[in-house]
């Protein structure tokens, strides 16, 4: 008997960062990044809280890129460990073609597979998040909120590892995914202000040729953290 699917909560901050990353770089490029969050369980339900998103690249990721980004991210989380218990709980991606919202691209599935295999039993609740074009358009549209919904649907679809096929094809039902009420506001705010968002590849590619290199804080992306408060 397989375990019940976890409930997933997406913070406004993570939603905004993923969407900004996709809109800035996603035109004919895939985007990839790390999901940081917390796991908890209450009353037999597993709850995964997506707290933050750390952008990694806007091209097909290679082993050196993924390895180094994960290790730097891990090291960063360890320096913050005393404040909270955030860990790497997933990987997010958006496909290269804006009309391709079907399934996550194979390189993202590969990365999620190997990340979820770490440790003795692996992590059965490791999530692969797909940021879809329709989701971004819905989140950024100027339509007024439907006042009957208490929590708006997130701009992304979530996949878990199917225990039989070992591939990330088991989609979490959208009714189990919820996001913060302020998500839409934060997203439209960030997009209209044209806030910068940096990923790991931006950071390593600009050294020596860009004066702003030191400000490219791809791990924290403080510009967005500031307006989220």
């Amino acid at each position: 008997m397989s375990a019940p699917a976890p409930k997933i909560f997406v913070s406004a901050l993570a939603d905004t960062k993923m969407i900004l990353h996709a809109t800035k770089n996603g035109f004919s490029n895939p985007i990839h990044g790390i999901i940081i969050g917390k796991k908890s369980s209450s009353g037999g339900d597993n709850l995964l809280e997506i707290v933050d998103a750390i952008p990694v690249c806007h091209e097909v990721p290679t082993k050196p890129i993924v390895d180094m980004a994960l290790r730097l991210c891990d090291a960063h989380l360890q320096t913050q460990r005393s404040d909270n218990d955030l860990t790497i709980i997933g990987w997010y991606t958006s496909n290269a073609s804006t009309s391709d919202d079907e399934l996550p691209n194979p390189s993202a599935c590969r990365i999620a597979s190997s990340m979820s295999d770490n440790g003795e039993e692996g992590d059965p609740n490791f999530i692969l998040v797909l940021v879809t074009t329709t989701g971004i358009v819905a989140a950024a549209s100027k339509d007024s909120e439907d006042s009957t919904t208490t929590s708006s649907a997130a701009a992304c679809r979530v996949f878990l590892k199917d225990t039989k096929t070992k591939t990330f094809s088991q989609e979490v039902d959208s009714s189990l995914i919820s996001s913060e009420n302020v998500s839409k506001e934060l997203i439209t705010n960030a997009l209209s202000k044209g806030l910068p968002i940096y990923d790991y590849v931006d950071h390593i590619s600009s050294y020596g040729c860009d004066d702003d290199w030191k400000d490219m804080d791809w791990i924290t992306n403080d510009a967005i953290n500031c307006i989220a408060k």
């Binding site: 895939p30 390189s107 030191k214």
Partner: protein
């Protein structure tokens, strides 16, 4: 255009004609600027024919880029409209190959791939070595999800006829990467390296592709190309990170070998360890005094512990 006429100056001065010329000359991709300046320029109606046609072509392409298909269509119509030209000898007809290239592009932008493909087929019939038309046929396939294998075949065919087209090899490498064919991508990057042996970024990409492909021999090649990359450009931070990752990857691969084979790699292992230390020192130096210093330091201590 004098040396003092850079793009911000021209924009301040609202010199739309020279803005368009600048973008054309420097081969920049800034469709919003071209469309904004272009619209104003076209209304002035004081352009000579050659300049008018060149601008219309440029604005048409920019309009396709940002999805303003109405503007693109009106540019197309203006180009072949004989009443708008001042000089009767410079009339463009719909048979013109240059016009048909633009027409194909607009059809592609509108998503009308069948008609676009027909336009390019006719261009290829007239001139079988028309590289532009062949490339656009590949692009039509690449734009449609689900047609990846057809696209790869088309690009493969193109490359067998035009093996010196480095941009196409680059595109093929990216396509291989997207279907996780890292050995294939490495092959394409090798072709690029032949064409540009002193380009640090290409050696970096080649090294990364070999590293991702896996296996001892590939790991060794990865190490070598990333070392070449940092030698060609000391500021290539991506190559430095890649060098440390590739050297570590090589050590991991050697660990998996049988005892006899491992001994044959002894020298390689020594080189790899030195490269990791060398890379680590450079990275520590780069981040000194910056916000990420602590994070990078802990990454490097972890690396040196495993040596």
């Amino acid at each position: 255009m004098g040396p003092e006429e850079d793009l911000p100056t021209l924009i301040c001065r609202k010199d739309h004609l020279n803005i368009l010329r600048y973008v054309r000359a420097h081969q920049l991709r800034d469709p919003n600027l071209v469309v904004t300046s272009g619209k104003i320029l076209l209304e002035s109606k004081s352009l000579g024919d050659a300049e008018r046609l060149a601008s219309l072509e440029q604005i048409c392409i920019a309009a396709c880029d940002i999805g303003d298909l109405d503007l693109a269509e009106s540019c197309l119509d203006s180009i072949v409209n004989p009443s708008e030209s001042n000089n009767k000898s410079l009339v463009v007809t719909k048979e013109s190959a240059r016009y048909r290239k633009l027409l194909g592009l607009c059809l592609e932008a509108a998503g009308n791939y069948e008609s676009a493909a027909k336009v390019y087929d006719i261009l290829l019939q007239d001139n079988p070595s028309n590289a532009y038309a062949a490339k656009r046929k590949y692009c039509i396939l690449a734009a449609q999800p689900g047609k990846e294998t057809d696209a790869m075949k088309a690009l493969d065919e193109y490359l067998s006829k035009h093996p010196g087209d480095l941009a196409a090899w680059n595109q093929m490498a990216e396509v291989c990467m997207s279907v996780s064919d890292f050995k294939g991508a490495a092959y394409c990057y090798e072709e690029l390296v032949l064409g540009c042996p002193l380009d640090s970024n290409i050696h970096t990409k080649l090294g990364e592709a070999y590293c991702t492909a896996g296996g001892v021999e590939n790991a060794k090649l990865a190490r070598k190309h990333l070392a070449q990359a940092v030698q060609l450009d000391q500021n290539n931070l991506r190559a430095w990170y890649g060098l440390v990752a590739a050297a570590e990857g090589y050590l991991e691969e050697v660990e998996k070998l049988s005892k006899n084979k491992r001994e044959a790699e002894d020298e390689g292992v020594e080189v790899a360890k030195e490269l990791i230390k060398f890379g680590g020192e450079k990275l520590a130096g780069v981040y000194q005094g910056s916000k990420l210093a602590a994070v990078v330091r802990s990454l490097l201590t972890e690396t040196s512990h495993s040596l």
